[in-house]
């Protein structure tokens, strides 16, 4: 579904991603871990199409299409969804209006009829139940004054509404209390199928108890330096990143 080959990207002349290779197939869940500043969010942003990042080398295909060639909105319409690490507050834009615009533009691109107000509301109610999000939140401006956890939950709610094929969750677990973590994970698990794939960026092994990954990758200094299965996450939880850093850094100096 997603194939990343030798991806290099920089911002303001600083190279952040330095040769990422990753294959994600339909039905799979990949976890990406790694120390702060290693480039996890950068990778997520580049995949979603953030223009500030310049891709200097490499290629990314999504369902056979050149992903890097598409505008951010077209990537979303093709089925890429990024749950932001820091969702933006947008005062004055009503959550409902925003979602309806988004859902209908995505539907239009996919050749589906737009949803009328009634159908949209029905869909919204159904998905709200799934992620147990309060109606009151959605009657406010988009993310405005939401708590950290509420913002994260809203991301998953949007994901449920847009029905993506590839979801990238950037630290969606950070800032969630235990109940919210369970609810959000439930949501993710219910939305997954053999036609969809998920990339979860996380620092915590505990999330992976809920969303069980098929593969775990460690990103460090802009490269995937280690890949394994969920046991790798446990090992990292126990030992931290030092041993990996040492391994990589010693190789680099040779």
């Amino acid at each position: 579904m997603l194939s990343i080959k030798n991806l290099h990207a920089s911002i303001e002349g600083n190279e952040i991603l330095r040769g990422i290779n990753l294959e994600v197939k339909a039905g799979e869940i990949h976890a990406i871990m790694g120390p702060n500043g290693s480039g996890k969010s950068t990778l997520a942003s580049v995949l979603a199409g953030r223009e500030e990042y310049e891709v200097t080398e490499g290629e990314v295909t999504f369902k056979g299409k050149d992903l890097l060639d598409l505008a951010p909105e077209d990537r979303a319409r093709e089925g890429v969804f990024l749950a932001f690490q820091y969702p933006v507050e947008i005062p004055g834009v009503s959550s409902t209006n925003f979602l309806r615009t988004a859902v209908n533009q995505v539907r239009e691109y996919r050749g589906l009829e737009p949803l009328d107000a009634v159908k949209f509301l029905t869909l919204m109610k159904e998905k709200m139940k799934l992620v147990e999000i309060d109606q009151k939140l959605l009657s406010r401006s988009l993310n405005e004054g939401f708590s950290g956890g509420e913002k994260k939950r809203n991301e998953i709610f949007q994901m449920a509404m847009l029905e993506p094929t590839l979801s990238i969750l950037d630290e969606t677990d950070s800032g969630l209390d235990i109940d919210a973590l369970r609810i959000v994970s439930n949501g993710v698990n219910q939305l997954k199928s053999e036609k969809t794939a998920t990339i979860v960026v996380t620092h915590y092994q505990r999330l992976l108890d809920y969303i069980v990954p098929d593969f775990v990758h460690v990103l460090y200094k802009g490269r995937i330096v280690k890949s394994g299965t969920k046991e790798l996450a446990m090992e990292l939880e126990e030992k931290g990143y030092d041993w990996i850093k040492e391994e990589v850094d010693s190789q680099a100096t040779v």
Partner: protein, 422 residues
């Protein structure tokens, strides 16, 4: 007296001024001649060279004549959903036969009210154009709302302007609102034709004690209209005056809005949007004068500027020594959509009292890229995402319009301009 006989484009207009309101006109004439048209370096008109604009665009410095407006004109011009009473004007001249008779409210031509103290609120000494209007206006309208009147439906002041010879239109409005009354005015002009002409409007509002006046104004006239307006109100004890001004079009527009808080516990609110494109130039000069203790003023103007448009904001807050316990807030925010658009914004605070709460701020920026990306990442195309954000930006001012139908009308014009419906 030689300095008082200075010749300029308006000299013959002044010579030919009507003979009524003699003392009022003489006073204004002296004041006009003393001030003259603003010179290039004039501080108050530093960014808005209206004198030059007039010289370039106006060929016939004589009053535009009233013309025949039909009931059909009126019907087709009134915005959808309007529910209220309409007073109709042609080139600034009130047309009683086409206008509503509003129950309990006195409406007449100014010429029928020759004892009025015109210029006692919008004093001619403050501004040359206010003086020019007072010296030379042809006729105007007098509106009086009695005491204890809750006028529920808005009154639409609907002007049709057609000055094909590039002439002058000088509306003059005097509004009195009795104690304990509330009334809403909507001020709208329609250009018939695309030619240049000059509108120089003066509106004076004399509010009673515990009165509440809402004055909404939309400027969406022809692209070639040059306009100066002066709206000035005295706000008495326990009273409010709410002004919302929406500017969408014109060649060069200068709005002078002056609120005088003269009674305690009074409130003056000034809100505005200027959404400009092409080469439109809009200058909002506001002045709130806190003369007494315990009064409040709130101000929020927002600008969205595309193409080579230009916005000017100058917000004066004057707090006199006696005006303790004043609350005065002012904010001006601008978004530039093009590299060729410019904004000059200047808060001007003069505070002589020591126990006051004043705040002011201004910003000039671009659209929030992060917010834009967030919306795009959800599948919303860039143009529409921009529209959503700009609409939200303007929304904070729009929501100050309490007349729902008018708010929706302005909203639809703004959405249309921003290129999408939400």
């Amino acid at each position: 007296m030689s300095t008082l006989t200075k010749q300029d484009s308006f000299s013959s207009l002044i010579e030919a001024a009507p003979k009524n309101f003699e003392s009022v006109r003489t006073l204004a004439k002296v004041s006009y001649l003393a001030q003259g048209l603003p010179a290039v370096k004039a501080e108050e008109y530093k960014f808005t060279n209206i004198s030059k604009k007039l010289e370039q665009k106006i060929t016939d410095f004589s009053p535009a004549l009233p013309f025949a407006v039909t009931a059909e004109h009126v019907k087709s011009a009134v915005y959808e959903g309007f529910d209220g009473d309409i007073l109709v004007f042609a080139n600034g001249n009130f047309l009683p036969e086409l206008s509503a008779k509003i129950e309990g409210i006195e409406v007449s031509l100014l010429s029928e009210k020759s004892e009025l103290a015109l210029g006692s609120i919008a004093k001619p000494g403050k501004d040359a154009f206010a003086a020019l209007n007072q010296a030379t206006f042809q006729d105007g309208i007098f509106i009086s709302v009695p005491k204890k009147a809750q006028v529920e439906k808005p009154i639409l002041l609907l002007s049709f302007d057609q000055a094909n010879g590039g002439q002058l239109i000088q509306p003059r409005v005097w509004i009195e609102v009795g104690d304990l009354s509330e009334v809403t005015f909507i001020d709208q002009s329609i250009s018939l034709g695309e030619s240049s002409y000059f509108v120089n409007e003066v509106v004076e509002v004399k509010g009673g004690v515990s009165s509440h006046v809402h004055y909404y104004r939309i400027q969406n006239e022809g692209k070639n209209v040059i306009e100066v307006s002066t709206i000035e109100a005295d706000i008495q004890k326990d009273s409010t005056f709410n002004s919302v001004n929406i500017s969408l079009s014109g060649d060069m527009v200068r709005n002078n809005l002056n609120l005088n808080l003269v009674g305690s516990n009074s409130e003056g609110n000034m809100y505005g949007i200027y959404l400009l494109n092409g080469k439109t130039h809009v200058d909002n000069h506001t002045n709130v004068d806190h003369t007494i203790p315990h009064a409040e003023s709130n101000e929020l103007y927002k600008g969205i500027l595309a193409d080579q448009s230009r916005g000017v904001f100058n917000g004066k807050i004057f707090v006199r020594q006696d005006a303790q316990k004043t609350n005065a807030f002012q904010q001006n925010n601008n978004i530039l959509l093009s590299e060729d658009a410019t904004v000059n914004t200047k808060p001007q605070l003069e505070i002589w009292a020591d126990d006051v709460k004043c705040s002011h701020g201004c910003t000039v920026g671009q659209l929030d890229e992060e917010a834009l990306f967030y919306l795009q990442a959800r599948g919303i195309d860039k143009l529409q995402a921009k529209g959503l954000l700009l609409h939200a930006f303007a929304g904070e001012v729009l929501e100050k319009i309490k007349t729902e139908s008018f708010r929706e009308y302005c909203d639809s014009l703004i959405q249309e301009r921003l290129g999408s419906k939400f």
